[in-house]
Amino acid sequence: MTEGKVSMIEAMVDVFGSAITGSEIQCGDQQVVHVEPSNNLEILTWLKDTEGYDYDLLLDVTAVDYGSIPGVEVVYQLWSITNKQLLRIKCALPEDSLKIRSVADLWGSANWLEREVYDLFGVQFEGHPDLRRILMPKNYSEGHPLRKDFPLRGRFSREKQTELALKQDYEDYYSPEQLEGFGQRSDD
């Protein structure tokens, strides 16, 4: 098992060189690989499609804001159904450019998971088909809640929050423009 992992890291370094910035084993058996954010798409495609690795199930896309280190770390959890291997890929994004390429084309599951990371951390996923807030209201203007500089009770006072909440107009979202490409697919 361990040997297979070591050789996988070696193979990754062979292919991607310095884009692999480090690897470690957490909790005894969890393989973690740190990669350059600019190469995330190539590396994940390679992991998904290369014979022998087949990480075909993207379990989770999430992010961590450490607070002590500026910036956000995007974390991918992968699982290979055939090889029964778990892998964690981490990309550290600097504070001034919270941008990374989207993997929504590779895995359907990434679509909503990336939207959630965008909503709660403010990470821009480039090439995402439909990047908008998913959990917070559309008119939410207090920022991205899971960042460490965001206070637990929100930035606005409760009065303001209540007022803004009741100002949300659901009729606004209840319109054909809400759905992208409304009515275009009916004539064929």
């Binding site: 959990l135 759905l179 409304f182």
Partner: protein
């Protein structure tokens, strides 16, 4: 007296454009506060945009302000359909990060809890889904049985839903006297009700008509979409964490993993029905092997010293004080730990910087990912089928929105 009325028929082309229909967020068939914006061509669904977040209670943020043990009560409020399961997986993740080995008794007790919750959760799914296809009786039967599990919860933890039964390193208490007998009684008599529900639904023409061939997804699509749990297995992919990444000696229990063929609503129904039977099997084996001994680990990092020690010895006193006031400390690092939840792969990703509070506590939400496939599944079906497809995914909004 009759008045003959002539109705003016509109001339020219009738407006045959698509319609936009809004379902939810407050609608009984959405199983919570889910909002579905549907574009309809007549009765047929052209596309759907699910709008979630109506139950976003910021669990993950709140967790960063709570000590490690204080998070346990939050976990069961997240998925109130299988609370003990969430309690267990959270502490299992933290224990893994701390490299803490729980006692044998604790392991088996947690297996009992988790399998009981699988039945608990599937029963609610069964009841409410049956209502969606127009059958009210299974709901009453299912709730009758759930009521018995509620009683077991209550006898063990004192609460019916919000159990908060686990602690890092063990459980809040050992099983009360006679609890295993009650559970055994449940294991023995529950199949009867299950058979009854089975005979009501499995060969019921209406149920077949409403579920077969509806919301079909192929195995490879399901994997790509991130399906896990019964939904994935209904599409014919054999992926069950209890077998593939075993924890708590699941490899030593004999049970089968039901696999579906067609990946439609009916197969999802069959898989869940069979899973309940398999859970009963595991429960039976676990009850047989339940060992004695302590339920909590004796590890100075998490367990309190005994009262006598505290009174007699300064060191223990200080230790007691530290654990109570500061909470458990977890070494720096991160850990992803998942179990086979009732709805899919239920993972907890915890990140620690060595302090008494987590830096990040992330839940890998199975129903969040499962729900994201809804637009794909429902396209081209009728509105009434949408309700069935949505129900067959077994979602719980508390965990989707967190």
């Amino acid at each position: 007296m009759s008045v003959k009325q002539t109705i003016e028929l509109p001339q020219g082309n009738l407006d045959s454009g698509n319609m936009l229909v809004n379902i939810g967020p407050q609608h009984p068939a959405t199983h919570g506060v889910l909002r579905l914006l549907c574009e309809l061509d007549g009765e047929t669904i052209v596309q759907i945009d699910p709008d979630i977040g109506y139950l976003h209670s910021s669990f993950e943020k709140l967790g960063e302000f709570r000590t490690w043990n204080q998070i346990v009560p939050l976990t069961d409020r997240m998925d109130y359909l299988a609370p003990l399961m969430y309690n267990c997986v959270y502490v299992m993740a933290v224990e893994k990060l701390m490299d803490l080995k729980v006692t044998e008794r604790c392991k088996v007790v947690r297996v009992l809890c988790m399998e009981m919750e699988r039945i608990f959760s599937h029963l609610l799914w069964l009841g409410t889904t049956a209502i969606d296809v127009g059958a009210f009786t299974p709901f009453l039967y299912a709730f009758q049985e759930r009521e018995r599990i509620y009683k077991l919860h209550e006898a063990f933890t004192g609460a019916r839903i919000t159990t908060s039964a686990t602690r890092i390193g063990g459980m809040m208490a050992d099983l009360p006297e006679g609890w295993t007998d009650q559970l055994r009684n449940f294991v023995e008599t529950f199949p009867e009700t299950l058979d009854e529900i089975d005979s009501l639904l499995t060969r019921n023409g209406i149920h077949l008509g409403r579920t077969q061939g509806i919301g079909t997804i192929s195995g490879s699509d399901a994997v790509n979409a991130g399906f896990t749990g019964p939904n994935l297995r209904a599409s014919g992919i054999d992926y069950d964490l209890r077998k593939d990444r075993p924890y708590y000696d699941y490899e030593t229990y004999t049970f089968e993993v039901p696999i579906g063929k067609n990946g439609d609503c009916y197969d999802r129904y069959l898989v869940r029905m069979e899973e309940m039977r398999q859970s009963l099997k595991i429960l039976d084996q676990a009850l047989r092997r339940l060992p004695g001994g302590p339920i909590n680990v004796d590890d100075p990092r998490v367990s309190l010293p005994s009262k006598t020690d505290c009174m007699n010895d300064m060191e223990s006193m200080i230790h007691h004080f530290k654990i109570v006031t500061e909470g458990v400390r977890v070494p720096p690092g991160d850990c992803y730990f998942a179990i086979e939840g009732s709805k899919g792969e239920l993972g907890m990703y915890v990140v620690s910087d060595g302090g008494e509070k987590p830096v990040r506590w992330r839940v890998r939400p199975p129903s969040f990912v499962n729900l994201s496939v809804l637009p794909q599944l429902a396209e081209g079906h009728q509105v009434s089928d949408l309700i069935m497809i949505n129900a067959s995914l077994d979602i719980v909004l508390g965990e989707i929105d967190r």
